[in-house]
């Protein structure tokens, strides 16, 4: 009891010191400033306004204010005489001392809270000060509110106000300790009304700060554009040169959140509201405002929400564009929007890490699930070869983003066991594996398309078959994703033969010799090979058949040489095998075409008993000429577009034919009649022959006969 008395004395001494009346002109400068920001017109209409908190209506006008006080007394203020002594306007100094006094009383109440049974009577309460303090806070709130339509009030004012609100909140709960006492109860009611009024208005303020403080656009941060892979929509025509990257719209950034001064104010409000116990409202307003902001940002980035059904029905070229946007948006979301949002949560709810975390987690979860829906839908679309690369891009995006999401959600307190991070990354990984399965299925479909390509028309001139071009370009691009493909195949290729799985396990996954993707690739190459061999049978001329196989073989080899990835995957053994096959084709060609020609130059049968049989010689030359003309006519229309192969072939033909011809002529031309008639049998000089050989495989049918005559 003694203690309580001293406290009361102390309080009354404080209250007397603050009782010096102060006029409106003495109002603290800061308050004046904040007031001047408000539109003046509000003052007059104020009294008529309907408010949620009727009891705390306060008039700006001095005279009305006094009337108002009398009304308020009915509800709020006790009947004690002190009321009449209440100074009309506390000065800044007196507000400070009031606050101190309230704080003193607060800590006193809290100190006795535990042992309050020992207080049959509630301790004396510095009612006048509390009343004055609450009145003052209320008035400040009104002023603040009327001022907020203009320029934002000085931060300092806000801090004072938040501080006062905090004190009101503490007062409300402290007074409730003795709420059975009428006077305490009344004071508590008054305080809780003001607190709620403050909370309503702060909620408004918080909301409008969140909604209206439109961030300025970032001065386009130039980000290095991701390495783009050429799209191969038309591999059949496309062919060997790189398709120039399609022009994509410029990378648009998510808008940044709020300028620092706004974040500062948000932090102030959030702090006051949370410590007053109104966290739920505040979190909801925040969560929803940010959700809506993200939604707007998404559509500004050109992201369109599509249903699973929409995606299934969409033609591929439209879907391809949507995928490109999705990839951009997803990366941006995780790399830019998430960290920013996390920072924002941590800044606004500084000191309340649980709240900040849960808000951010909900945000990240909602956004991720939204974006995953599209990937899921794409994974379900009809498999087709052209989708492989875009699906791979999506797969890589998800794979790359998992650790980032994980890092953002992993809390410092439980770095190893964070179910929130785990749950979300599991969702992402799940959709990723669905895309992975799609990749495997699409790639394995290549086998089917190779097998079913059974055209009955031979490519003219034995040139490279479109299937070869298609398959090789496809494989080349697929192998640009080598690491991803290997990973996807290891993870998602379900072995058709269960026993091979056992082998896998025995060999261990690190064993390079067992690489499901390499095996699949090899299989595709084998199928292509088999298919080409059967296509070569479409040519009636066995020499052309060899040229066809050589052309396609060379094309394949060149592609493999041009891609380290395929080369690595297929291995040297494979290349050696192919090279020796190529040599075999070459030999076959030589044999088929030129062995008959060479037979013309044989000595056998020309010389009988040391004499040269002229008719036979003439016959030989005639048939050589005819044969060569025939070959030239046919084979100059054959196509060998690979320059090196073309020249190899020509050189090898020349190397066999020209010397043999030269030596034949050297040995036998003397036996022919000189003069005009010799031209009848010896149509070509050896050099001429060489020139004609150089016209082979050019794809231009040219008749030497016509040229000869001109």
């Amino acid at each position: 009891m003694e203690r309580s008395q001293t406290v009361t004395q102390k309080f009354s001494s404080f209250s007397s010191s603050s009782s010096s009346a102060s006029s409106r002109e003495d109002r603290p400068r800061e308050i004046d400033r904040s007031r001047s920001l408000g539109p003046v017109k509000l003052e007059k209409s104020y009294g008529k306004k309907e408010r949620d908190t009727e009891t705390v209506t306060i008039e700006e006008d001095e005279e009305e204010r006094q009337e108002e006080e009398e009304v308020e007394v009915v509800v709020v203020v006790n009947k004690e005489e002190e009321v009449s002594n209440v100074p009309e306007e506390p000065s800044e100094a007196s507000f400070g001392s009031m606050s101190e006094e309230v704080d003193g009383f607060l800590s006193f109440l809290l100190s006795i809270d535990d042992g309050r049974d020992q207080w049959p009577e509630p301790p004396a309460m510095p009612e006048p000060t509390i009343k004055k303090f609450l009145d003052f806070v209320e008035e400040e709130l009104v002023k603040y509110e009327s001022g907020k339509d203009g320029v934002s009030p000085p931060a300092n004012d806000e801090l004072v106000l938040f501080d006062a609100i905090d004190r009101v909140a503490k007062l409300t709960s402290a007074l409730s300790i003795f709420s059975s006492d009428t006077r305490y109860n009344k004071a508590m009611t008054r305080a809780s009304s003001i607190l709620r009024y403050a909370m309503c208005f702060l909620e408004d303020e918080f909301h409008s700060l969140l909604e209206d403080s439109k961030p300025k656009k970032d001065p386009g941060i130039a980000r290095p554009k991701a390495k783009r892979r050429p799209s191969i929509g038309h591999l059949h025509e496309a062919i060997d040169r790189c398709v120039p990257p399609s022009s994509e719209p410029d990378l648009v950034e998510f808008p940044s959140t709020y300028p620092p001064e706004i974040i500062e104010r948000l932090r102030g409000i959030a702090g006051a509201v949370v410590s007053a116990g109104y966290a739920t409202e505040c979190c909801q307003v925040f969560t929803i405002a940010r959700h809506n902001a993200f939604d707007v940002a998404l559509s500004n980035l050109g992201y369109e929400k599509l249903g699973v059904d929409d995606v299934q029905k969409m033609p591929w070229d439209s879907l391809e564009a949507k995928i490109a946007t999705w990839i951009k948006v997803f990366r941006q979301t995780v790399e830019v929007a998430f960290p920013r949002e996390n920072d924002l949560c941590e800044a606004v709810f500084a000191g309340h890490s649980t709240i900040a975390y849960s808000i951010f987690h909900n945000f990240a979860r909602g956004v991720t699930i939204l974006l995953l829906g599209f990937a899921e839908a794409v994974a379900m679309t009809k498999r087709s070869a052209e989708k492989l690369f875009k699906v791979l891009d999506m797969y890589e995006t998800l794979r790359d983003m998992v650790p980032r999401i994980d890092a953002l959600l992993r809390t410092e307190s439980e770095p190893d066991d964070c179910s929130a991070a785990h749950d979300l990354t599991t969702e992402v990984a799940l959709v990723g594996s669905r895309l992975g399965e799609a990749v495997v299925a699409i790639f394995c479909d290549l086998e089917t398309s190779i097998k079913t390509d059974m055209g009955k028309n031979a490519v003219p001139g034995g040139a490279v078959h479109p299937l070869t071009r298609y398959v090789m370009n496809y494989l080349k691009y697929a192998c640009e994703y080598k690491n991803t493909m290997e990973q996807v195949f290891r993870d998602h290729k379900t072995s058709e033969n269960p026993s091979s799985q056992v082998e896998d396990a025995a060999k261990g996954s690190s064993d390079d010799s067992h690489n499901p993707f390499a095996i699949q690739l090899m299989e595709a190459m084998e199928l292509l090979h088999t298919n080409l061999e059967s296509k070569s049978k479409l040519y009636r001329d066995p020499a052309l058949c060899s040229i066809f196989l050589m052309n396609n073989g060379r094309y394949i080899m060149q592609k493999i040489k041009g891609s380290t990835e395929i080369h690595q995957l297929l291995g040297d053994t494979w290349s050696r095998k192919r090279s020796s096959e190529m040599r075999q084709y070459h030999k076959n060609y030589q044999r088929e075409t030129w062995s008959k020609v060479l037979a013309c130059f044989k000595d056998d049968g020309l010389q009988a008993r040391g004499h040269v049989a002229k008719p036979v010689l003439k016959e030989r030359l005639k048939s050589f000429n005819a044969m060569f003309e025939e070959i030239h006519k046919a084979q100059s229309s054959w196509v060998v577009s690979d320059e090196q192969l073309q020249s190899e072939l020509r050189v090898s033909v020349s190397a066999v034919i020209v010397p043999a011809y030269r030596s034949f002529l050297g040995r036998f031309s003397q036996y022919l009649d000189t003069g005009k008639k010799s031209g009848k049998y010896i149509k070509f000089g050896p050099e001429e022959l060489e020139n004609y050989i150089d016209e082979l495989f050019s794809g231009n049918p040219s008749s030497m006969v016509s040229r000869k005559r001109t």
């Binding site: 009304s193 208005f201 929803i288």
Partner: protein
């Protein structure tokens, strides 16, 4: 072949069902006999199909039966009931999958043979549409979570220490008023007009801004703080249209289809109907964009499961026409309770007369108890419901992938 006589002939409507199965049993074996390794395979297969029909029927009879009065928590359209509904769907889906794969073991060709290939791809077209319903419902569950938070605020304010401060009463009232407005708002959307939704979706209109400022914390204004745009569904999406698409031209298999599919046309039809009904019931129960329950649903009465599903359909439809539920944003029992409870409490608190009379305090306490009950039901039910909806989604996707893979492999034999 005897079965060929059967093809093209139309079976009288009344004899469809079990009788058809038995007709088929006599006639189909000649066609498909060579697929069965053992002579008894056909009979076992038929038994399997019948067991499936029977099991589906049992599940829905169970869902349709009114629980004993004590177990009212389980009543039609309660959270618990919706969860049972989804469980039943998952069971059906799983058994359906088993049937497809057990009878096609070693003979994939069967699934890919017309008309079964068409029937299956038809079913999965519907199923894909159902996936969008799942996503929308997931959004709806989020919506319910949001509403629960408002209830929690009211609860926190009213359940605090006694006596209640005026501020606490006002806080509770504001939370409840905000909630009422949110629900009204949702009704506009759910009620059908997409246009309405579009107008209110983004931010506040300038008029509203004005109102908010001058109204200063008035409930009508602050509910705007809690409006959120739908997460996953585009703004033109309509649950009603989606349901129509799912149920579109859902027809009982014809006799020749049954015989040509070794009887599998029936489980496909059964599963399509179950899918359609379950999605319809979800949309009926849970808030989602542009709900509309006026979809045609009829199955021939003589199918074993038809009676219970039809009766459920009728009862839910009746419920939606009741005066107090006509414009509701979801027929879920708990939504009704939320509305009732928050209206009741808001009435008690309006106007706030302070201090509370003893009688009013008692009433308030009672109201709070009801509130606690709803809150708990939501707290316990929403997360598992969301998981189940997700599970339904994943299962549909998985079995679709399996079947389509099977179809494409058989079309391109190796």
């Amino acid at each position: 072949m005897p079965a060929t006589d059967f093809q093209g002939s139309s079976v009288p409507f009344a004899s469809i069902g079990r009788s058809l199965l038995s007709i088929r049993r006599d006639q189909v074996h000649a066609v498909d006999g060579h697929h069965h390794d053992s002579p008894g395979g056909g009979a076992a297969h038929d038994l399997e199909l019948e067991v499936f029909q029977k099991h589906v029927a049992d599940l829905f009879v169970d869902l349709a039966s009114s629980p004993p009065a004590a177990a009212a928590a389980d009543e039609l359209l309660s959270l618990a009931w919706v969860r049972r509904l989804l469980d039943s769907f998952l069971i059906c889906q799983e058994e359906f999958r088993v049937i497809l794969f057990s009878c096609s073991k070693g003979q994939r060709v069967l699934l890919a043979r017309p008309p079964l290939d068409r029937l299956l791809s038809d079913f999965f077209d519907r199923a894909v549409k159902a996936l969008d319903v799942c996503n929308a419902v997931r959004d709806g569950v989020d919506q319910l979570r949001l509403w629960r938070q408002h209830l929690e605020i009211a609860l926190a304010a009213l359940n605090g220490g006694r006596p209640l401060g005026e501020g606490q009463l006002r806080r509770a009232r504001k939370a409840l008023t905000d909630l009422t407005i949110l629900i009204l708002d949702e009704k506009e959307t759910a009620g059908g007009s997409i246009l309405n939704h579009r107008n209110r979706s983004f931010g506040r209109s300038s008029k509203e801004t004005h109102h908010r400022r001058t109204g200063s914390g008035g409930a009508a204004a602050s509910a705007g703080h809690f409006r959120s745009s739908s997460w996953s569904v585009s703004r033109s999406w309509s649950a009603a249209r989606q349901l129509q698409a799912i149920g579109n031209s859902l027809a009982v298999p014809r006799g020749n289809e049954v015989s040509a599919t070794n009887g599998l046309a029936f489980p496909v039809f059964t599963m399509s109907s179950v899918l359609f009904f379950v999605m319809w019931a979800l949309v009926a129960a849970i808030p989602c964009q542009d709900r509309g329950l006026q979809t045609h649903f009829s199955v021939p009465r003589n199918l074993p499961w038809a009676a219970s599903i039809t009766s459920l359909h009728e009862r839910i439809f009746e419920e939606s026409k009741k005066k107090d539920r006509k414009n509701s944003c979801g027929l879920l029992k708990e939504i009704q309770q939320i509305e009732k409870c928050s209206r009741h409490l808001a009435e008690l608190l309006d106007p706030v007369e302070f201090p509370l009379t003893g009688e009013k305090d008692m009433e308030l306490k009672q109201g709070v108890e009801e509130l606690v009950e709803v809150c708990n039901a939501l707290k316990e039910g929403l997360d598992p419901l969301e998981c189940q909806v997700r599970e339904v989604f994943l299962r549909i996707v998985r079995s679709r992938t399996e079947v389509l893979e099977c179809l494409s492999k058989s079309h391109n034999p190796e």
